[in-house]
Symmetry: C4
Subunit: 229 residues, 4 copies
């Protein structure tokens, strides 16, 4: 059932170790089929070098397991809330990639210091607050998703396909699992360069708005002219 | 004799270069068979790419060599004291992995800044003091073990399976050699992110206690729900 | 047509991932044939692992596509202006290599702190200002080239074959594409060591002029004695 | 002639890229045969992946080329002076390895912050001053060697087999070329950890003298007990 979806999710998951974004099992990718409302996600705590496409777990948006011999990732309720809140996305990634996680631990959003950032993310990549004790002791992973969704009620989740969760780590998303992984790689690279850039010049300011606009719209929207489109 | 044990110790040692935790021969893994009270450990100063399972040295808890053509690691007396002090562990790792060693040289414990740390280690990873001149000039390696054991008389060695020795480097442990290596990898990753995190935000504070609790108990104890258990 | 040129440009482009200078498609190399005035350049947004020599796009110095099924790199107008302004160069590279880009984002030129730098680049590697809103909203990539060219009207583009564009990233050049890549590698290495050097000693000063002279002229000009020339 | 020597020097040179100590041709290893007084050294500016044992250049201690089709490394006069000043060494390495070079550019010696350093180098690794204009404009490479030799007239070159040349980079030595490379790897690792350690704790002090003594003499001298000796 939905074999294509499980294969795509498997392949997107295998990109995480390829791009150096995960240690051990510290990451997961999911992808949704909007027609059925089912999404496939990595099983919890299974090593990447033992994964197969059949190991992917199929879930519905009420949190029921539709198919799969394993438990889904413990972060599944976060993915689920994001799929409900962001109707135009098709894939989600969570990792503990070291540079992005360092910013998340530091509790700071990543300012847009240059065109590498502006090419993919429009403005600062936000760091949402830590959950309260009540939110943590309750449905922790679900509440993580609700908190992210709340932030993006007033912000454009398509223009900034990434978020840092304070004291935790990043989530990214995209049209499918593959694009979400792509954005996770961009985030890690941008996080690294922003940290180094602040060390080189502690007074550094974000890039001028007009440059951010230029690079973002060079790749996105009706007037995009990057690539072969 | 105890061929399975030597093979396991050999394989755990070979993970150290695989995970980038050692340069040259700067590390060693041991594992104990609690029934016989014998433990196997890497020989001293032998290159990883020349090691074989048969090269592992078998020791008893009085420090006698039971079997092996080589001298055991010069850190053997430290391992021995830890096996005596920590009855529930089965494996020990010592390395000079660069990030953990940088913290040890700096003489600072590693605060828990996020969930990557909290998933494995409950609270700050301690840095024990440098040995005194008397302790160094005496049975140095044994005294290193006694000092670590002393610290954990009043702390939970199972909740924090790692320690930094000031001006020296880290030791980690676990149920067996493999898990001790796993914890050494976690320690190195956590040490790296904590250092970067402090550079990104010099005023950073440890993660809230309730978040540390949540992540630690998500993976440990009766209510754990991470993975396939 | 100009098959040798396209092959050389293809091979120079493939060196970018080999030397770790690019993530995804964030870089491009071109090389010019001064006789015909045509230059070959990487197509826009095509993955490195799918590139072939035939994919290279052939352009003239008026910006007309002479040959090629793909759109040329979106940075083509920058390359074009540099070929017009720098008559003695044959190749150009643009990347977002992380250390050089961190300096560019920081808005600082890279001081010459040692002989590694002095062996290849004579004096500080400049960081040119951000474009104005008018320059950005107009012919952005062409204006980038014009700004670099303007800086080098009063500076020696052969003695310093590299520039940082503020909030963006580096361009390097050389006698051909291969040498331009070589200079891009040097720039990244020099940028890394300069940043670390300032952390180790925040009061560090540039290397004495006589040392800079010695190393530069050991490799360049009539009295060079490095290598097998 | 001296084929064994040339083979050993070739193999030691090939370790430099293996251990990540060189970019392009930025390094060289030599080894001396004390009986004949001839030493073999890498040719100048020849790529590592094209080197063969036959390419090694044979020199005598008066600076005459005894054998070889290539020019010797431009650093040959430095090697020569060190062989004359340090009678107990058999091999020398020069690199621009990034962490050691960052300290050299910063103009600081590397304090002994821990046992990784103390195991190989007894006390601070010195940074010798920049040459004067007269020394640079004269026999530059020879004067580099003389300056290092001058420093070690009052210091023990066997206890500290490494030096940093201000604004330039490191030299290391040992009983043969292989051991000199080993020390170059140690130096790079120690330089990296010392820099990070100062960032983690800006008030850090060198390791206590008794610990430095313990670790150095655990590996060196009559009472050494590390390894299989």
């Amino acid at each position: 059932m939905l074999e294509e979806l499980k294969k795509a999710v498997y392949e997107a998951n295998m990109l995480l170790p390829k791009y150096g974004l995960v240690t051990f099992t510290w990451g997961n990718v999911s992808q949704i089929d909007r027609e059925t409302g089912y999404f496939a996600i990595k099983p919890s705590g299974v090593d990447y070098d033992k994964l197969t496409p059949e190991d992917m777990v199929l879930m519905d948006l009420d949190g029921n397991k539709i198919e799969g011999k394993y438990n889904p990732s413990s972060d599944t309720p976060t993915h689920l809330e994001l799929y409900k809140a962001f109707p135009n996305i098709g894939g989600i990634v969570h990792t503990h990639s070291p540079w992005a996680t360092s910013w998340a631990q530091a509790g700071r959003g990543i300012p847009c210091y240059g065109t590498t950032h502006a090419d993919y993310m429009y403005g600062e990549i936000p760091c949402v607050r830590c959950l309260t004790k009540e939110e943590i002791d309750g449905a922790y992973e679900k509440n993580t998703g609700l908190l992210i969704a709340e932030y993006f009620k007033e912000n454009d989740y398509e223009a900034v396909p990434a978020v840092l969760c304070k004291n935790h780590g990043p989530f990214t998303w995209g049209r499918d699992g593959h694009e979400a992984v792509h954005n996770a790689v961009v985030l890690e690279e941008v996080a690294k360069m922003a940290a180094r850039c602040e060390t080189i010049n502690p007074q550094v300011k974000p890039a001028p708005q007009e440059l951010q606009d230029k690079h973002y719209y060079r790749k996105h929207g009706a007037d995009a002219y990057y690539g072969q489109k």
